[in-house]
């Protein structure tokens, strides 16, 4: 009985060691630069990967009226179908904080990234790059984050200073690590 248990125990240990020694398969195939370029649609705060093209506030107002206002309202003030995007400036520390693109978002690149990948809701990824730059310019112009005659492109967009740029505390260092 004891001997049998001992053998069983030994077998288990040996089995465990064996499993650990076998390397997992390597079944990924190399990704080509073209495959990566097509898939890599994310835009970080430094603007790396921003496409060619540009858009003005005036152009953006037209695109917004045609493609965005149905959900976000004529003046980006929001409707039940779409978030309010503007206003609330200076309210974050008040008793009635209003979080909008203008008042809260730390990076303009985030707005470009999100509009280009996910908007309009019913037809995502349909905007031309010029249209995406223009809509960003228009939204940011409403609260004068960019001037009314602004033209945004790959160089100017990452330089836009969002009002709440320094409003965030990175909690990641406080997470419980393994």
């Amino acid at each position: 009985m004891f001997r049998a248990a001992l053998i069983a125990c030994f077998t288990l240990v040996a089995g465990g060691a064996l499993a650990a020694d076998i390397a997992p398969p390597k079944l990924g195939r190399p990704a080509t630069p073209d495959e990566i370029a097509k898939a890599d649609i994310s835009i970080p705060p430094d603007g790396k990967g921003l496409p060619a093209g540009s858009g003005s506030v005036a152009q953006g107002a037209q695109v917004f009226a045609a493609k965005c206002s149905v959900c976000h309202g004529a003046n980006a003030e929001g409707t039940p179908n779409g978030d309010r995007l503007v206003g609330g400036m200076g309210t974050l520390a008040s008793a009635n904080p209003v979080k909008t693109v203008s008042s809260y978002w730390p990076y303009a690149t985030t707005l470009f990234d999100y509009i280009r990948r996910a908007m309009p809701l019913t037809n995502p990824q349909s905007l031309q790059n010029d249209e995406a730059y223009a809509v960003v310019a228009y939204i940011l112009s409403i609260d004068n984050i960019v001037p009314k005659d602004a033209v945004l492109d790959a160089q100017s967009l990452p330089k836009v200073q969002m009002p709440n740029r320094n409003g965030f505390i990175n909690w990641e260092p406080r997470l419980i690590k393994p």
Partner: protein, 430 residues
């Protein structure tokens, strides 16, 4: 009076106010009560059928290719917010009816869904996972290839960072079921490939600290995740509760980050990019960040803190007259195992420790139970969990005090249910 004394013999004296009994009285009570069931006398008749239920007198239904729950329980359905505007039907959520479920595993069809632009219909033969960025060899994995890797199976909860947010934002307690209030919470057995296996194959640059995960849905959902989490217990989940992961949960694959806020567990996963800083996507800046009273906001509060909720009784799960009840609910923590759950029946004045139903697994729902002799009078039930890291659920007011007004992410305060003398249960703030 005599009856009360009999019950005290069965269940012992209460260990906390308002009739809470010691958790050890489960075993004794079930054995003792079994004796109370009277044996039925067989009916004497020409055929025995006259004494049998109708289901014993004719063949039952045929086999089903895919079984469904009993039609007698058709009310057990996910909870969709009513009167939603059209856009919110694809960008909103549908909740798990927690108050109708037992144990800890959520049936796949009742798992909550939080979508940002609908559920995509993805052909698995055309879907691939790209791993690139700060890696030695950018690589593409087909679904078939992933199926050939060593698999692991783990049970983990999933909770939306916005779960229970309605409570945080409501000045007066909303009279809604536990599922309405807390049902952006589910728990499944997940099977898939350990992400570190794939990252090792691609060869992660040691300077990479973050990883962008992106889904193939119409929202292009994308979130940044610390590399330490990706290398620790992250999984590419391919199966849920034994079957291929459901479309609403990411078919053919989702990123599973045990204990992290639901949104980071990117569904329909198509791309992982290794980075040396976060991408700062929309859902980690505009959403899922927590505004503090001074106007600053916490970003990357990724771990779900300990939390619990009593489900029996709870709103709409009312009392049926004075006597013996089992208080039951679920507790969980994104930091590890639930260490204990304390129950109060007197609004937090006194507490008794609940029994935890095995298995008690890390970052998984844990079922707790406690016997209760309800005397028919008003009571306020509360549950408060402590996890293995020693974190304790805050009270309602403690949670609110941490943040700016009307914040609604990462709400994990103690839930209180008031029992009226008529047995009706209501949601209250204590």
């Amino acid at each position: 009076m005599g009856k009360k004394q009999d019950l005290t013999e069965l269940f012992g004296e209460p260990v906390a106010g308002n009739g809470l009994l010691h958790r050890r009285f489960f075993l004794q009570s079930s054995a003792a009560l079994a004796g109370a069931a009277a044996a039925a006398t067989p009916a004497l008749a020409e055929s025995i059928g006259s004494g049998s239920p109708p289901t014993m007198l004719k063949p039952g239904a045929q086999f089903n290719a895919y079984g469904m729950p009993s039609h007698w329980r058709e009310n057990i359905k996910r909870i969709l917010a009513t009167n939603v505007p059209p856009a919110r039907e694809v960008t909103g959520s549908i909740r798990t009816p927690l108050q109708y479920l037992e144990g800890t595993i959520t049936p796949a069809g009742l798992h909550y869904v939080r979508n940002h632009n609908g559920t995509p219909d993805i052909d698995p033969s055309k879907h691939e996972l790209l791993i690139h960025g700060m890696v030695r060899q950018p690589s593409i994995f087909t679904v078939d290839a992933l199926m050939r890797y060593p698999m692991r199976t783990e049970i983990h909860f999933m909770e939306c960072a916005g779960n229970s947010g309605g409570i945080a934002g409501a000045a007066t307690p909303q009279q809604q079921t536990a599922g309405d209030l807390h049902g952006l919470l589910s728990c499944s057995e997940w099977t898939g490939v350990k992400l570190s296996t794939l990252l090792d194959e691609a060869g992660v640059d040691p300077r990479a600290t973050w990883m962008l995960a992106e889904g193939a849905d119409a929202a292009g959902m994308s979130r940044s995740v610390p590399v330490w989490k990706a290398m620790d217990d992250a999984m590419i989940a391919l199966y849920q509760n034994g079957e291929p992961i459901r479309p609403e949960q990411g078919f053919p694959m989702r990123l599973l980050l045990p204990g992290f806020e639901g949104n980071t567990n990117v569904k329909w996963l198509r791309r992982l990019k290794l980075l040396d800083s976060p991408m700062y996507t929309k859902d980690e800046t505009s959403r899922y960040t927590e505004l503090l009273p001074d106007g600053k906001a916490r970003e990357f509060m990724l771990q779900m803190e300990p939390k619990s909720v009593i489900l029996k009784p709870s709103f709409s799960v009312d009392m049926q007259g004075p006597g013996y009840y089992e208080i039951s609910g679920v507790a969980w923590s994104g930091l590890g195992r639930v260490r204990k759950v304390d129950i109060s029946a007197d609004g937090g004045k006194t507490w008794a420790e609940a029994a935890l139903t095995n298995p008690v697994l890390p970052k998984a729902l844990t079922r707790f139970r406690l016997p209760w002799m309800w005397n028919g009078g008003p009571a306020v039930l509360m549950s408060r969990t402590t996890d293995e890291k020693g974190r304790v659920q805050p009270t309602h007011s403690e949670w609110l005090a941490q943040y700016a007004p009307r914040q609604n992410f990462h709400f994990n305060a103690i839930q209180s249910w008031a029992i009226g003398a008529n047995g009706k249960v209501s949601n209250v703030y204590v």
